[in-house]
Subunit: 326 residues, 2 copies
Amino acid sequence: MQETLEPYSGRRVLVTGGTGFIGLNLVEALSRSRASLRVLSRSWPSPSPAARRLFEKVEFVKADIRDEVAVESAVKDVEVVFNLAGRSGATVSNTSPLDDLDVNGRGQLTLLEACRKLAPLARVVFPSSRLVYRPGERLPVNEQAATGPLTIYGIHKLAAEHYHLLYRRSYDLPVVVLRVTNPYGPYQREEQNRYGIVNWFIHLALKGAQLPVYGDGGQLRDYVHVDDVVSALLLAGSCDAADGKVINIGSGEATSFLEMANTIVHHAGAGGVQSVPWPADASRVESGDFVADTSLAARLLGWQPRMRLDAGIADVIGRYRAAGPA
Amino acid sequence: MQETLEPYSGRRVLVTGGTGFIGLNLVEALSRSRASLRVLSRSWPSPSPAARRLFEKVEFVKADIRDEVAVESAVKDVEVVFNLAGRSGATVSNTSPLDDLDVNGRGQLTLLEACRKLAPLARVVFPSSRLVYRPGERLPVNEQAATGPLTIYGIHKLAAEHYHLLYRRSYDLPVVVLRVTNPYGPYQREEQNRYGIVNWFIHLALKGAQLPVYGDGGQLRDYVHVDDVVSALLLAGSCDAADGKVINIGSGEATSFLEMANTIVHHAGAGGVQSVPWPADASRVESGDFVADTSLAARLLGWQPRMRLDAGIADVIGRYRAAGPA
C-alpha cells in the first residue's frame, strides 16, 4: 500500500462520503500518507471510537453533498476528489426512487458543477457499480458489455458515470470511473449492513445466527475486499493513463452465494446456513451471475486484487472481533 | 390515420406536455378520435388561436409534471398516458444540468409513481431520443446498439427509459419507449425553434434569412415528419406487442445537413444557405452521422414512415404559411 500512497504526499485531497463504508477505509489508508486530507460528510460524529480516531488529522466538513455552497467551499483548491458520497442500497432504492435521485443524481451534479467552477484541474475518482450492467452478459463481464440497470440505484450510478464523462469532454475535468463489484470489509456501519451482504452475514454469524441463502444459493458473485478497492481508488487518483476511463474493479473470481456463506460460518466458527425462498423484492432485482473481467485495471492502473475470498473473510472476521464495527 | 385512432374510441387518454411541439400534433390527431382526452401542461394558454382551438373539447390540467398532487389527480382512471412532458434542448441542457435533472428526471419519476399508485393498468408511451446512442455506431443504428449519451438531455432520456422498464418489471405497468430521431413539422413554438433544427431553418427561410450550416454540412441525420411520429405514438399506445419494448422511430433515410437546408430554401423560394464554422458548444455535443434502423417498428407496430423529406418540408412550409406557428 505504501507505494500507492507516495503520490499523495503533500497533495490536497477531498473524500466525499468519507464516513461511509468505503470512505472510512480510504480515509484510514490516506491518513498514513502525507496528504492534506479534507472529508465532506453529513454523518458525523461516528459512535465508534476507532472511526473517530481516524479523523484526528482530517479537516472535517459536515455537509450534505447537495449543499451547493458547502460543496463549493469543500472542493476549492483540491487536487484529487474521491467522490464517494451517496446513498447505498439497490433494493431500497426502488421503494424510494425520488430520494435516490436527489442524493445520487442531484448530489453528483452539484459536486461536478463545483469542480468545474472551483477545481477544474482536480482529478475526480468516482466509484460506480457492477449494477450498471445488463444481466445475462457473457462472463467475465468487461467494460464493453451492454448496460441495463435493474434498480433505481443502478440507473443513477449509470447516469452519474455519464455525467463524469461529460464533464471531462466539455470542461477537461480529469475523471476516472471504477465499476466496483461486491465489496466487503471492516468499517461497515451496523445499520447499513444489509447493503453489503458479506458484512451482514459476518455479523449474523458472529452472533450465532442463521445466514439466509435464497433458493439453492447457486448465483455467482464477485466479492472484493475493500483493501483492494482502496488501492484501486488510490491508483486511479494518481494515474494519468486512467483519465476518462471506465474500469472494472473486482476479484475476478466467481463465488457462489452458498460458498460465501459457508466460508463465513467456517471462519466464524459460529452461525449456520439456512435456505429460504427468494423474497419478491430481491428476485425482481436479481442481476444473475456476475464476475468482472479486471484486465483493464491491470493494464491501465497496474492493479491486481490481492485478497482472495477465503483469506479476506478470515481477515475481516478477525478485524471485527478485535475492534467491533465502526 | 383514422384506423390508428379507432382503438382510442371511448378510452380515457392523458397527454402530458400536450402543448409542446409533438404534444400539439398528437392532441390534434386525438381530437379527431372519440377518446376522452385530458392534457397536462404548465404552458397555457397558447398565443396561437389555432392551438387554442384544439383544446376546446379537452380537459385541461394546468400543472407542472413535478407537482405530485396534480399529476396523481391527472393520471387517475386513465387508460393510456402519452408521457411527453419535459424540457427540450440538448445543447442547453449542458449549461443547466440541475434544471434538466429536475424536470426530465424528477418529473418522470413523479409521473411513474403516480401511475403505479393510481393507474397501474395504464399503458405509458414515452418518447425518448436517438441522443441516447453512443456516437459512431454502425449505420443504420438499431435498438441493440451501445448507449452513450453526450448531453445531459440524453443522459436523462436514457435514465427515464430505464425508469419505464423498471416500473414494468417491478409493478407490471405497461410501457413502450420510442427513440425518436429528428422530428419536424407544424406547431413548433417560436421560442423553441432552436430545439428542432428543421423547423428553425424553415422559419429562417420564410423570413428570407441565411440558414447557418456548420462546416461542410456533410453530417448525416434522420429527419422524421411529426405526423409519422404521431402515428407511431398512437400505434404504440394500442399495440400489445410493443409492451416493454424500446423502438426506433425515424425516417430510416440519411440526409446530409446541407441537403436538408437546400431543400428548405428550394421549397420556401426564399432565404439562402451559409457555411459557418462549428460553434464550440455544438461541436462538443456533435453526435456524428445518424440513421435509424426502423425495422423493429415495422415488425411490432406495423408502422412505416410515410412522409419523405422533400414532400415533408413542402408540406410543413405550406402549413406554416397557412396558419403561422402555434
